[in-house]
């Protein structure tokens, strides 16, 4: 058994470049030809899984086999495969992004599974995330929430000296915690109510904690919450499932902060909203 360090967790290894025996897995994968087609689970026997593979590489190898057999490969979203872009994501054995905490699907490695395991793979399921194909869902509803207020308005022209605006260190840290959100949608997928409240709270909190975010802080909160509801997401019931699966470990404390800002916006009408 080779020792592991972070470098070895890179995405280069294949099934045969190590001395450990390949794992054999049974995969139950949701297959759906198109948005309006009926979907079903299809079972695949995967004979050739290295523990060094990422979850997506494991699916890549399966897809190569499927293509060689003349079958349609499994569609899934992915891009950077470094856990920072937010494209990948699937329900793995009933947990968004799988069993490893603080890890996006692309950074989940097969060593967290055992030889002979059965793995059920499903797309994110929410009314606001319609299925495009197989494991790919449309997450534009999250973009609509950002468009509703996840920005600051600044005049164009010469960039001002950044240090002219002092930011308290704790605020900068908290803001950065929220800004780590990669918009993967795992919070929605894991929420028993398919609510996007953690996502929304992270986006609003990230800007609302900084001086540059103050002028639009309350308008932003009201507009983003309204858009969230309009997109067909459910309401938050404070279960904390989102926090548990978030690959960036964003805290539901941000949801409390969002609630506080919305109440303040409605009660006191600050910034003329």
């Amino acid at each position: 058994m080779p020792s592991h360090n972070t470098l070895e967790e890179s995405t280069r290894s294949t099934a045969h470049d190590d001395d450990s025996r390949p794992m054999q897995l049974t995969l139950n994968v949701w297959r759906q030809a198109g948005p309006t087609e009926p979907g079903r689970f299809v079972t695949y026997q995967h004979q050739n899984v290295s523990e060094h593979m990422s979850f997506l590489e494991m699916l890549d190898v399966l897809n190569e086999d499927l293509i060689l057999r003349g079958d349609e490969p499994i569609a899934y979203d992915h891009d950077c495969r470094e856990g920072i872009c937010g494209m990948c994501g699937m329900m793995i054995n009933g947990i968004a992004h799988g069993p490893q905490r603080a890890t996006a699907t692309c950074q989940l490695h097969m060593r967290h599974f055992k030889d002979g395991d059965t793995i059920t793979i499903e797309p994110w399921r929410a009314r606001a995330f319609p299925i495009v194909k197989d494991l790919v869902v449309r997450r534009g509803s999250l973009d609509r929430i950002v468009e509703a207020g996840g920005y600051i308005s600044v005049n164009t022209g010469a960039a001002p000296e950044a240090n002219n605006i002092p930011v308290p260190k704790p605020n900068a840290d908290r803001s950065f915690e929220a800004a780590q959100c990669i918009q993967c949608g795992a919070c929605v997928a894991a929420c028993p109510n398919a609510s996007a409240m953690l996502f929304l709270a992270a986006k609003a909190g990230h800007l609302g904690l900084l001086p540059q975010g103050q002028p639009e802080r309350y308008r932003r909160t009201v507009d983003m919450v309204a858009e969230h509801d309009k997109q067909g997401f459910g309401a938050c019931t404070n279960m904390g499932e989102c926090e548990a699966v978030c690959p960036k470990e964003i805290s539901i404390d941000f949801i409390a902060r969002l609630n506080r800002d919305l109440i303040r916006a409605k009660l006191t009408n600050p910034s003329g909203y």
């Binding site: 499903e122 969230h228 309401a235 019931t237 404070n238 279960m239 926090e243 409390a256 506080r260």
Partner: protein
């Protein structure tokens, strides 16, 4: 202030309605339990407390006026709490039309999972409880004003006592998640104080269940007669 009226339009606003009415009802059940425990101080004491509840506020308020004002506030709170819960539940159920074939909960436990059905049990219990000890409709030998005897005779039926105990456990579970949710929804929760709010919800729901269950238990064990 017009904004307050539009608060209810959003899901968070509906949750604020749940939290504020929940806070009123949370305060009520604690005071109610403290009142209930006076049964251990004896017949004269709790019957005098019953008289006090009817005459409180005198001479500024007349007979049962404060009592009825309180009842109206509580009934409106219960109504709004259920109404908001109903609307939110419908939204939540609609937000995931296709369920997962496999789902493993990471965080939320029994209390959070049973919040809605627990609420239904509590609502049914409230109706029975009012018919039992307030109007006396379903009580075998109800005597208006004789609180002590009504309690003791009421709880001598083991089925009634068991129902009360089950309802109190449902209430404790409801508040274990509900009271904490209230602090979260009202935005009081933050990373510095979340353990205080979690602790407050745990301690208050446990004390409430223990305090209220002690009464039917004491009657069934023959300690109160």
């Amino acid at each position: 202030m017009i904004g307050v009226l539009t608060l209810y339009e959003s899901t968070i606003g509906k949750k604020v309605v749940m939290a504020v009415t929940g806070l009123i009802l949370f305060g009520f059940v604690i005071i109610h339990m403290l009142g209930n425990l006076k049964v251990f101080a004896g017949r004269a004491y709790i019957n005098a407390y019953g008289v006090f509840l009817r005459e409180v506020g005198s001479p500024m308020f007349g007979h049962e006026q404060v009592l009825w004002l309180t009842r109206i506030v509580l009934l409106v709170s219960v109504g709004l709490h259920i109404w908001a819960a109903y609307q939110l539940t419908r939204l939540d159920l609609a937000s995931r039309p296709v369920q997962y074939a496999m789902r493993k909960n990471q965080e939320y436990g029994y209390a959070a999972r049973t919040l809605r059905w627990g609420g239904v049990i509590i609502a049914l219990f409230i109706v029975y409880h009012l018919l039992h000890f307030t109007t006396g409709t379903v009580h075998p030998r109800f005597v208006e004003g004789d609180v002590y005897n009504n309690v003791v005779i009421g709880f001598q039926n083991p089925l009634v006592s068991i129902f009360y105990i089950v309802a109190q456990l449902a209430l404790a579970l409801h508040l274990y998640h509900g009271a904490w949710s209230m602090f979260q929804t009202l935005g009081l929760n933050n990373s510095n104080n979340k353990r205080i709010w979690r602790g407050l919800a745990t301690v208050s729901s446990t004390m409430l269940a223990l305090g209220n269950i002690s009464i039917p238990l004491a009657v069934m064990l023959g300690l109160l007669r």
